[in-house]
């Protein structure tokens, strides 16, 4: 299928980074190509590339211009991006426990009303999803997941909240996500997980990698409280179900 791959746009982001843009939209195929290029660069590093930042539609490649010029870098990136994406043979798969609704997910009822269904139906649909970490960004550990079923797509809130709790699991637009730290959000809050996607003094500090698969499991509030204590003490709480 290599012939059908359109070349990405290479956009200089200042003098020390280049945005390799596969699409202007949220597009699953583009995200897979982003992640494939990211993996390719991890496998065959280009001298002078200092770090890569995958997002939904583009890979931001930071480089040291004293070690590699823009033209040489662009050429190598274009060549790598043109190769067909090898299938991810053994993506990790995590099960993340979530306490839905109530004070843990203050928007669940409203989301159900807006979509003309019950809160239980929203939860059933959300836990049935098979998601992929499309990108991590904004704040440490904020994991944006693709694969949200169309029924649950919702415009973001008109008025973003200035503070939402750590561990919030939410939906916004065509995405769902897990945020690690308390902070602002314009998404609809469905629940909370005790899982820390970012925790200092734990190994690993960052739990999820771009490309990891994620499913959710419903837990009750009592279990959430127990897991929250365990997570605080350094346990992962998230369950690695594959590979």
């Amino acid at each position: 299928m290599a012939a059908s791959l359109s070349p990405p746009r290479l956009l200089p982001s200042g003098d020390s980074a280049v945005t390799v843009e596969f699409s202007r939209n949220i597009d699953d195929t583009a995200n897979q190509r982003v992640l494939a290029l990211d993996r390719a660069l991890a496998r065959e590093p280009i001298d002078g590339v200092t770090e890569t930042v995958p997002t939904y539609r583009s890979l931001l490649v930071h480089y040291n211009p004293l070690r590699i010029g823009f033209d040489a870098l662009s050429e190598q990136l274009s060549a790598l991006a043109g190769e067909p994406a090898p299938a991810i043979a053994n993506a990790r798969r995590w099960r993340i426990p979530v306490a839905y609704g109530g004070e843990h997910g203050i928007d669940l009822e409203d989301v159900a009303k807006t979509l003309d269904t019950t809160p239980d139906d929203i939860v059933a649909r959300h836990v049935a999803g098979d998601y992929r970490v499309a990108m991590i960004g904004f704040t440490p550990g904020w994991s944006y997941l693709s694969g949200l079923e169309k029924f649950l797509h919702m415009p973001r809130r008109q008025n973003p909240r200035l503070l939402t709790p750590a561990g919030t699991v939410s939906v916004g637009g065509v995405q769902t996500g897990v945020q690690c730290l308390a902070g602002p959000s314009g998404w609809h809050l469905l629940g909370r997980t005790a899982v820390r996607t970012y925790q200092l003094h734990r190994d690993p500090i960052f739990l999820l990698e771009p490309g990891d698969r994620v499913t959710f499991a419903r837990i009750d509030y009592k279990t959430f409280a127990e897991q929250d204590r365990a997570a605080e003490a350094g346990e992962l709480v998230a369950e690695l179900i594959a590979p």
């Binding site: 200089p12 982001s13 949220i26 539609r57 960004g137 902070g183």
Partner: protein, 343 residues
């Protein structure tokens, strides 16, 4: 061991170094000093590596006191009145605080951030290779938050080395150079021309995450929401209200607003030091020019030790300060006899 005790310090003051790279893919912003040249100059003055951790002091004043022995420090960056036990001291110089002596710093003039480097560095536990404070992520050492009154920085006893001054090149009062993009195609020719041809000011609501610009409203061609993509230090994003924001080292690692342009690396520190209210302009340059400027900037940092001079007497020091264009009106506004800002 000696320590430097923060007797008092204004907001937006924190321990910063060269920042932490390699974890932006997890949403962890690099942080680090906003003015790398000033950080490096202060560090080199006391024999530290250029990007060792130092105290980045925000626009308001500070007072630091040596305890359990003498502490040797150096000052660079935004000028301000400075004295040790009432004796005026100069910027771009090293100095030694005897045990119990205090360094008192006034408000920043002609800039926003000053750097206080400490001989031997600041003792702390690096996370991801850096002591830089990132309060939101709980990172930074010895304190994972901005500095407060009463904080203590552990360091080595002063070496007793002769004090030094450093001759830095004049800071050009030239436009801040940018490269257009990565999303300049989200803006029409008129909007781009308006961006490049207008006078801008830094809003007083700016911080280490972003500098908000005051000037004309920059309109998008299409939607102001794009799909989030990666950011860099110096990304100039334009949100829905048309007010551009220059992203600084504590930025989010991704953003969903179109980025009309990116400040070149060599000019980031100069932009960071533009005081609120002063007008400036942008100028578009090619990637080749930006890379040449970056090479020159790196050469300048590498060659800082060759710019060190002995301090022969205070008059010379004062002269250096007055000669430094960075001081500009700020120094002229200070009465050299009393070393105080006229009321």
């Amino acid at each position: 061991m000696s320590k430097l005790v923060i007797s008092s310090i204004g907001p937006a003051s924190s321990v910063q170094d060269g920042g932490r790279l390699g974890s932006q893919r997890y949403g962890l912003t690099p942080g680090g000093a906003v003015d790398r040249l000033a950080l490096a100059a202060a560090n080199v003055l006391v024999g530290n590596a250029p990007f060792a951790a130092a105290v980045e002091i925000g626009p308001l004043g500070a007072r630091l006191t040596a305890h359990q022995g003498a502490v040797r420090v150096a000052l660079a960056g935004a000028l301000r009145t400075a004295d040790i036990a009432g004796r005026p001291v100069a910027f771009d110089s090293s100095m030694t605080l005897a045990d119990g002596e205090s360094l008192t710093l006034g408000f920043a003039r002609g800039g926003s951030f000053s750097y206080l480097a400490i001989e031997g560095g600041i003792r702390g536990e690096p996370m991801f290779g850096s002591l830089s404070v990132n309060a939101r992520a709980g990172l930074g050492s010895p304190y994972p938050r901005p500095l407060r009154d009463g904080d203590e920085l552990q360091t080595i006893a002063a070496s007793g080395a002769a004090e030094r001054r450093i001759e830095l090149p004049e800071v050009a009062d030239a436009p801040i150079r940018i490269m257009l993009g990565p999303q300049d195609d989200e803006f029409g020719e008129e909007a781009k021309a308006l961006f490049l041809d207008s006078e801008w000011k830094i809003s007083a609501t700016s911080d280490r995450m972003g500098y908000r610009l005051e000037g004309p409203v920059i309109k998008h061609l299409y939607d102001h929401n794009i799909v989030s993509d990666g950011t860099v230090n110096g990304s100039i994003q334009v949100p829905g209200n048309g007010v551009p924001i220059v992203l600084m080292p504590d930025r989010g690692t991704s953003g969903g607003y179109p980025k009309i342009a990116t400040v070149i690396s060599a000019d980031l520190g100069r932009l960071a030091q533009i005081p609120a209210g002063r007008s400036f302009r942008f100028k578009a340059v090619s990637i080749a020019e930006a890379h040449k400027e970056l090479r020159d900037f790196v050469k300048l940092i590498d060659a800082l030790p060759a710019r060190l001079r002995d301090v022969e007497n205070f008059d010379l020091n004062l002269e250096t300060l007055q000669d430094a264009n960075v001081a500009g009106s700020a120094v002229n506004a200070i009465d050299a006899k009393t070393w105080h800002v006229p009321d």
